[in-house]
């Protein structure tokens, strides 16, 4: 394979070019030999199926308008997508914020399900927004708790830190 450049080249350049050509030929033959082996030994059986799937998938995606995903894509985590008003697969509808009443495992108070996490965060004294947990030493000797009876001499959670 000779150079296709019309202008005359120096002997050194010619040598470099023919060196490059030889290396290129060898590289191409290497790849051809490997692929031939893979194809003949049946190591690429999945490739055709994969390409078919890829073709079909690309056609589908190109058919969609950009960024489409069922139910709206960019709403925050609290609300959700656009189909929330419609009945679900069981024929039920639900409010945007879950309305079930749960009982907090920590303090026992009834809490609306959709607001359980922020309540629990403060109740357990975790997270950045929670007030500092009252410690045993700070409540030692306090004789008030929600049940009204005198329990142990310390309680980790005092009344006012709960939501």
């Amino acid at each position: 394979m000779s150079s296709s450049i019309d202008a005359p080249v120096s002997p050194r350049s010619q040598l470099a070019l023919s060196c490059f050509d030889e290396l290129l030929d060898i590289a191409v033959a290497d790849v051809a030999s490997e692929c031939h082996r893979i194809a003949r030994l049946g190591l690429d059986r999945s490739v055709d199926a994969e390409e078919e799937e890829l073709r079909a998938w690309a056609a589908r995606v190109a058919g969609d308008h950009p960024g489409a995903e069922d139910g709206g894509a960019t709403r925050g985590s609290g609300g959700g997508g656009g189909n929330k008003g419609a009945p679900d697969v069981f024929g039920q509808t639900h409010p945007a914020i879950a309305a079930d009443i749960l009982h907090c495992m920590n303090c026992g108070r009834p809490v609306v399900a959709g607001r359980f996490a922020p309540h629990l965060e403060k109740c357990m004294g975790k997270g950045r927004k929670a007030r500092p947990k009252t410690t045993r030493s700070s409540t030692a000797g306090r004789n008030r708790n929600s049940n009204g009876n005198r329990a142990s001499s310390y309680s980790p959670y005092s009344e006012h830190s709960n939501h």
Binding site: I38, R45, R60, P66, G76, S77, G80, F116, K126, S146
Partner: protein
């Protein structure tokens, strides 16, 4: 991809095998360079040349040595040599630079198992496969056997089984069991999405529904008392809380369930993640699997080395073993380590965003350009190929080679030594740059198959391709026992993330009875395949095909 099998020999190769002497002389001439191809050279300094070719012509890219008379030719002269030779048997030659057999009469490369076996033996003896691997490699052992106990149902159990088997008696006959919405408790869609995937992971579901962890009998059960003063001193048991969720979702009740107790228990364990904030679903999954392990690992009498999966159900289901090879580029010596993994975190290839519809004409090396549109599409399989690709380590991270006795540049290659029952693929869509002090989400779509064969990414396949995809029994190069489990997987859940990095929403798509359902917190709806395929996958859950139950086809009822 199964192990390579030889195609039927061409008549010339078959005749050659019968008539000529075996390949002993070739074995002497096989010379193996580290990381290079095996060569055929009679003498180490031999420079093969095609004698009929004029000396001024460009050297050909392939040179063939006739197996019968050892004369070296370029392809065209090899053909005439085969045709003109007075005695028969000069049709088969060998490519001297690649150690591949060639039939000059057919004009095609041919394959022979015995020849390949000889090449592999030469390669393995030359490279001295490491006899010692670093600590952590599992010793090959027989699988433990369990004693057989016969069992037959008593009348009460028989009645229970036949009653439950009739779909018309369950609460909602038309929908599969276990399908139930989960209430969002305040930014907890990350938790709901992962719980939905776990609820329908067949081995995990079977474990809990099969009463293997009974929350009423567990010594660590989560305290239910209010204002428990020692609530945090007594560790909650996440496995018990998960058991409760399974009971609730498979009870037949269809109104959305609130996993409040699970959240409470998890926050007791994962104190660093406990806050009313959007969390990362993948981080949450790893966290709960880890805590389940902590909770129940002591239930087992013996704990084997990590990764074998006997310690707890979380490892039994999700734990696989990765093999990491570091190969010296100077001498080819390789050092192998094994590490357990609970999931596969994959970099998202920078494919072009297809929705723009811009055709990218530049196809990558080796790939056919499929109408220009999807030449650079990200696919799960390409991510896995990239995961198991041999990568050159930085020049700064030179690896100390035990054979060279000095630091050398090296290659690193990962492969999967043992597949888990459930493979969770985490697509790294969130990029955090400490340099640029910013994080961003990568929004490219990812194509993924519903049926996945992991064979090309197994250690056996990766090693085989490192030896040139030769035909040989795997024991020839590696003493690892061949995996008994199949490598075929079926998808059952997809967790998608939509929106921005810090204000997004997770949704899970479940595949039950060959129907896809979208679980968006409390809202469960049917969707078609197309929606799932075009969604933005963040975590993909595949289960071994042998554990995946195809839909029990009920008569047209809905």
């Amino acid at each position: 991809m199964t192990s390579p099998s030889a195609p039927p020999s061409c008549p010339h190769l078959a005749a050659h095998r019968l008539s000529s002497r075996p390949l002993r002389f070739l074995r002497r001439c096989l010379r193996v360079r580290p990381l290079g191809r095996p060569e055929i050279r009679r003498d180490a300094r031999e420079v093969p040349r095609c004698s009929p070719c004029p000396s001024s012509s460009q050297p050909p890219s392939r040179l063939y040595a006739c197996l019968t008379c050892a004369a070296v030719f370029c392809p065209s002269h090899a053909a005439s040599h085969a045709a003109s030779a007075s005695s028969p048997g000069h049709q088969i030659a060998v490519d001297v630079d690649r150690a591949e057999l060639f039939c000059s009469a057919c004009g095609d490369q041919v394959y022979d198992p015995d020849f390949d076996h000889a090449v592999v033996l030469a390669q393995s003896t030359a490279l001295h496969p490491p006899s010692t691997s670093t600590s952590g490699s599992p010793a090959p052992r027989k699988r433990r056997r369990v004693d057989y106990h016969a069992w037959a149902p008593d009348p009460a159990e028989s009645a229970l089984v036949s009653a439950a088997a009739d779909p018309t008696t369950s609460a909602s006959a038309s929908e599969p069991a276990g399908l139930r919405g989960l209430n969002n408790l305040g930014n907890t869609c990350f938790m709901n999405s992962v719980l939905q995937a776990l609820l329908h992971a067949p081995p995990l579901r079977n474990y809990f529904l099969g009463d293997r962890h009974n929350r009423f009998l567990c010594p660590r059960r989560t305290p239910m008392t209010h204002r428990a003063t020692d609530a945090e001193a007594r560790a909650a048991c996440l496995a018990c809380d998960l058991d409760e969720i399974y009971s609730a979702t498979f009870s037949g009740e269809r109104t959305p369930y609130s996993p409040a107790k699970f959240l409470y228990s998890w926050w007791q364990h994962a104190t660093n993640l406990a806050s009313y904030e959007q969390q990362d679903a993948h981080e949450f999954l790893i966290s709960i699997l880890d805590h389940i392990h902590e909770n129940i690992k002591d239930d087992q009498p013996k704990s084997h080395e990590q990764g074998h999966g006997d310690c707890c159900i979380a490892h039994r289901v999700f734990s696989g073993i990765l093999r990491s090879d570091v190969i010296c580029t100077n001498c080819g010596f390789s050092s192998t380590t094994f590490e357990p993994c609970m999931d596969f975190s994959l970099d998202l290839d920078a494919g072009c965003n297809i929705s723009h519809g811009v055709a990218n004409p530049k196809a990558r090396n080796g790939e056919r350009n499929l109408a220009g549109i999807n030449s650079k599409v990200s696919t799960l399989m390409r991510c896995l190929e990239r995961f198991t690709r041999a990568e050159r380590l930085d020049a700064e991270q030179k690896f100390f080679c035990e054979r060279c006795k000095e630091r050398q540049e090296s290659l690193k290659q990962m492969s999967i030594r043992r597949l888990p029952l459930v493979s969770c693929f985490h697509i790294k869509r969130f990029e955090h740059s400490s340099v640029k002090k910013m994080s961003r989400k990568v929004d490219h779509s990812l194509q993924f198959p519903f049926s996945l064969d992991m064979a090309p990414y197994l250690s056996s396949s990766i090693l085989r391709s490192r030896y040139g995809n030769r035909i040989f029994p795997s024991e020839a190069i590696d003493s690892e026992p061949v995996s008994e489990l199949s490598s075929e997987f079926e998808i059952f859940a997809v967790i998608t993330h939509s929106g921005k990095l810090d204000a997004g929403h997770y949704v899970t798509y479940l595949r039950l009875n060959n129907q896809w359902y979208r679980c968006d917190d409390a809202w469960v709806t049917r969707v078609d395949e197309h929606t799932v395929r075009t969604s933005q996958a963040y975590m993909l859950f595949y289960v071994q095909k042998t554990l995946y139950y195809k839909a029990c086809e009920r008569g047209a009822e809905v």
